[in-house]
Symmetry: C2
Subunit: 244 residues, 2 copies
Amino acid sequence: MASPLDLKLRTLGVQADDSNVFLEAAKRRLHVAAHESIIREADTAEQVRILLAGTACAYKTNEDGARSILSFHHAGDFCDLHRYVLSDLELGIQALTDCTVAIIDYQNLDELLSRPAIASAFWRASMLEMARYRERLSSTGRSTALERVAHLLCEQLARREAVGIHSPRLPFSQIDIADAAGLSVVHVNRTVQTLRMLNVLSRANRYIEVMDRKHLAKIGKFDGRYLNMSNTASNWAVQVETRG
Amino acid sequence: MASPLDLKLRTLGVQADDSNVFLEAAKRRLHVAAHESIIREADTAEQVRILLAGTACAYKTNEDGARSILSFHHAGDFCDLHRYVLSDLELGIQALTDCTVAIIDYQNLDELLSRPAIASAFWRASMLEMARYRERLSSTGRSTALERVAHLLCEQLARREAVGIHSPRLPFSQIDIADAAGLSVVHVNRTVQTLRMLNVLSRANRYIEVMDRKHLAKIGKFDGRYLNMSNTASNWAVQVETRG
DNA sequence: CGTGCTGTTGAGGACGATCAATGACGGTGG
DNA sequence: CCACCGTCATTGATCGTCCTCAACAGCACG
């Protein structure tokens, strides 16, 4: 039974032997309770963290105290590779559910990076993350609340599937979605209700549970190719037709 | 007299000897006229391009034909490193002014990347680009048109300074700004006029010319630290005060 | 001297923000 | 077991920012 991190490394092109070295280096564990912080906005610890289980988000707090969620992290995702490369980036990571985190000291990371397959996997991972930012930016730019929310949910669902998490339920509160989509909580609530009305989300009002992914992808104009996950992408083929 | 690319490499921590090897590899040149495409959205050429002079933008065309500008490129910027790592990313690069572009074949790039200083510089560059996307995302999220436009302009001005371009004039049309900020052209026009009224932009209606950077930074809540350009950043210190 | 692109202006309308209040649920401690 | 509290979800009403449509002006180009 492959773990999310296993799957992730495989997707990034890391073979069994390198993968094992990696997993060996990431032995140290940390548990973080929901709503706690995994990395503070001005963290200086000389180690990187990898999310093994649970869901987290990268956020920034702006001057008026509002939290702005920049991306979500799922099992298998690197949390703070950026800090290894650029020290003074003010970006916090917060656990949205209970999380298990692996820790690798910068020293050990240096060694890992001397292996070409691992170095290239890290670079690939960074570029994929960047592609997600681009997609989010163009989705946030000029689309309606309904499209934004649908797109956001599609992306998370697809990424979770790619690491073996097949549950239709997403561990986000409407507040999280609002902070990520750049919408007010009130309006997110109305948007979610619209999606429920359309039978795209389940009626369960304590959860975000996707009932009709195809429809959701269509609404969100979601084309998962940018996630570059060959096996998964096919389930999320372009649903968008040009129409008059 | 250092070229923008020189300056950029230096900022990324590349020393003279590696830098020379790099410049040697980037001998091949290409001229692209304003409004022409540097890289098409489905380009497959096995080479990377580096902008030596001029200004360009990375864009996506969405299903209804609208152009969405994801980032701007200035002299010294890599255009399409992402294609080297992730082949099938649909992202076009378009010249906004007349541009000079250097070309490096993937083969030669492989060799360059065997030099640790260069490899690490590329990784740094990617991470810096990612930091800019994050910043853009949080600026686009929940701020007003005025803030967005101001922030956008500040960023470009600061990045241009970092590679030795000190002109207060930015080579963007209001259409470019609209596509980048996710606003309508009409509203960008009104926003620009507000900035002119405030004496932040010059009255010249054929150009975007910044007269008062401090004020612009304040309006855009621009804090250039995310650009990670030690010498330049100080001119752009935080202008934002908490206020009641 | 037209043609096209960019910039400008006005009017009307829609989407989403904000304010305010209430409901539902889970956990805690008495 | 129940009262209390905090968090999240929901609802209604009002308001403002920004979009859309439409027309026109200025300038560069051939």
